[in-house]
């Protein structure tokens, strides 16, 4: 019980910290977002509309900052995120996010899970056959791939598979612009085709980290007494590798995996930017470009909540899988 309370407490505290940062960063930084907004809209909007918009943004200069802050917190938590004041002027922030979310979840989510599965599998095998061929070649290779700037890997993939091959694979957007979204085979195929290069970029650059950590965890686990016990019992190697070693070696990686799942909706800004993929990361980039503060704030909160939720779930899953962690609290 104490464990649950601690975790939930951390969740609330971190969320509060993120929201607070979000509130204070614009107010402490040089350059007023108010001026930017006025400059952007003074020709298109009446002062009244502008005032209204500022209010919905939570900017009420005549109120004291503490009241503003409380009001803002309430709005964020209750989902009253206001309307966009950027390029998509007047569109509710929730609509914009609703449009972009599925694309990011689909693309980055699948790519992240695939990278984790592939990387862990390779790591388990490399750690098991330590000093073998796989183990001597792959880790250095993955040290290199995990140090590559991932947006640049995306650029290179575009160069090779799109530019040099006369558009063999599409290099931007989520589907061909002459198609209408519908639930059909050809449309799905088109979406997948557009997803290959960005997904490959994410997998190529993130698989290395999983391989290396998994390999090192495997090596530590293989030195444990229960593995020796399994060997002494004469269990088949496969059983020791998967049921004795890999399952335990996986545990420390689970929280990392949870974090990366949480970062799914935010972590691929550069990939989405390179491939013009209309997901949440691209949305944030555009919000930044257009000084669209309500959109930025809502996105930032969403990103934080996603990570926190993923961690929370992971903590409970680990506590369920591994009794030792329950004792630690």
């Amino acid at each position: 019980m104490r464990f649950v309370v601690r975790r939930l407490g951390f969740f609330v505290l971190t969320l509060w910290a993120a929201l607070t940062l979000n509130f204070f960063i614009p107010r402490f930084m040089p350059g007023s977002p108010l001026d930017a907004l006025r400059a952007r809209t003074h020709n298109r909007l009446s002062p009244d509309a502008l005032n209204q918009m500022l209010t919905s943004f939570g900017f009420k200069p005549h109120e004291n900052w503490f009241a503003q802050y409380l009001h803002y917190l309430g709005n964020m938590v209750t989902g009253q995120w206001g309307v966009s004041i950027g390029a998509t002027l007047g569109t509710p922030v929730r609509t914009l996010i609703g449009q972009a979310l599925p694309w990011t979840l689909g693309l980055v989510g699948i790519a992240t899970v695939l990278a984790f599965l592939i990387g862990s599998l390779i790591g388990v095998i490399a750690g098991w056959r330590r000093g073998g061929k796989l183990d001597s070649i792959l880790p250095p290779v993955f040290v290199v791939t995990s140090a590559l700037p991932y947006f640049w890997v995306g650029l290179m993939l575009i160069l090779v598979f799109s530019v040099w091959t006369n558009g063999w694979l599409p290099s931007d957007f989520n589907y061909d612009s002459d198609l209408l979204p519908e639930w059909s085979g050809p449309f799905a195929a088109n979406v997948i085709k557009h997803g290959i290069l960005p997904a490959a970029t994410i997998i190529l650059t993130s698989v290395g980290g999983w391989v290396l950590t998994m390999r090192n965890n495997m090596i530590t686990t293989l030195a444990e007494d229960y593995v020796r016990m399994g060997r002494a019992k004469g269990l088949p190697n496969r059983r020791i590798m998967l049921d004795y070693a890999a399952r335990n070696a996986m545990l420390p990686n689970l929280s990392g995996f949870a974090m990366s799942l949480g970062f799914v909706i935010s972590g691929a800004i550069l990939v989405e930017y390179v491939f013009n993929y209309p997901g949440l990361g691209y949305l944030l980039y555009n919000a930044v470009q257009n000084t669209d503060y309500p959109l930025m704030q809502a996105l930032f909160m969403l990103f934080t909540v996603a990570v926190l939720l993923a961690l929370l779930v992971c903590d409970f899953v680990i506590a369920w899988l591994d009794p030792r962690s329950r004792a630690k609290g």
Binding site: T14, W152, I219, G267, F300, V307
Partner: protein, 312 residues
């Protein structure tokens, strides 16, 4: 790994002097590891380019539009020119400095912050620990790159200082957690107990007794933070959130993307700076990986394979 194996067997065949035994020092171990060597050599090359770019190119103002645009690679322009009329090789050479400075400075300060927070949290314990750990964990789960983008935007498109501050603020938390864990595991060792009994002050114990035992972790941390800074800064500049008039690899990538270098048949403009970022990153990653193996003998496969061979 094979490299290590071959190396040790060679020295064994020659008849290794007894001083070559285990614990022969970090430097010697680094020299013996091929990964560490590759990393060090790459780093040395980039350092020379950063310190004396004049040695590598005759161009003195790489950002001036001094040449014909979009030239192909030739004897005069090794990597061709940009579509704006700048020499790509010269920009690359002069860009090294900023990227390297960002890596080292941001890496250094992020590490200092990690050590300060992590070690004091673990050593002080109690309320201080609760508080510092909470702050660390909060920073750890905040979505970094979005935070960086938001910060860089609010702070005005950025001077080098803004980029550096942002990188340090977002880059220290992971290391702090590691430092805390490591210090916790040291806390009740006898040598610290004896220092306490001697009546040493806390600060003395932390600086003189604890920190030296954590050198390898600190170095690894610095290399990790430097790698993080190189990649993140390049990404930030690529998005156009750096100073577009500065000379750096990230800025080159920004302009090449801006001018559609890939689509207009000038891939070198994009390949070259990206490759340099990658190589500098690889250099940090290799040194880090090799260092990990040196400081954690359990990860070195050599011993085990050999002993198995012997017993067989």
């Amino acid at each position: 790994m094979t490299a290590l194996l071959v190396d040790t067997s060679k020295t064994a065949a020659v008849g290794a002097p007894p001083t070559r035994r285990r614990g022969g020092g970090v430097v010697r171990a680094a020299l013996r590891s091929r990964k560490a060597m590759v990393g060090l050599v790459l780093f040395a090359i980039f350092s020379v380019m950063a310190i004396a770019p004049e040695l590598f190119t005759s161009v003195r103002q790489p950002n001036r539009l001094a040449f014909d645009p979009s030239l192909h690679p030739s004897g005069d322009h090794w990597l061709g020119t940009t579509s704006l009329g700048q020499d790509i090789w010269a920009q690359l050479v002069y860009g090294t400095r900023e990227s390297l400075v960002i890596a080292l400075v941001a890496g250094f300060f992020a590490t200092v912050l990690s050590v300060l927070v992590g070690v004091s949290a673990a050593y002080l314990g109690g309320i201080a620990d609760e508080f510092l750990s909470l702050v660390t964990n909060v920073f750890l789960v905040l979505p970094t790159f979005p935070l960086i983008i938001v910060l860089a935007t609010y702070a005005g498109k950025g001077t080098l200082t803004v980029v550096l501050i942002v990188l340090v603020v977002t880059g220290w938390s992971y290391g702090a957690n590691q430092m805390r864990a490591q210090t916790l595991s040291l806390r009740n060792r006898d040598f610290l107990e004896s220092a306490r009994v001697r009546g040493e002050r806390k600060l003395y114990i932390i600086v003189v007794e604890i920190l030296p035992t954590m050198t390898s972790l600190i170095v690894a941390n610095f290399l990790g933070a430097a790698l993080y800074s190189v990649l993140t800064a390049a990404g930030l500049q690529f998005l156009g959130l750096g100073d577009p008039n500065s000379i750096s690899w990230g800025t080159m990538l920004y302009w090449s993307q801006n001018q559609q270098a890939l689509q207009t048949g000038m891939p070198l403009w994009s390949i070259a700076p990206g490759l340099c970022v990658a190589l500098l990153g690889v250099s940090f990653a290799l040194m880090n990986y090799a260092f990990d193996e040196i400081s954690n003998p359990a990860l070195r496969p050599v011993k085990k394979v050999r002993s198995r061979g012997r017993s067989a």
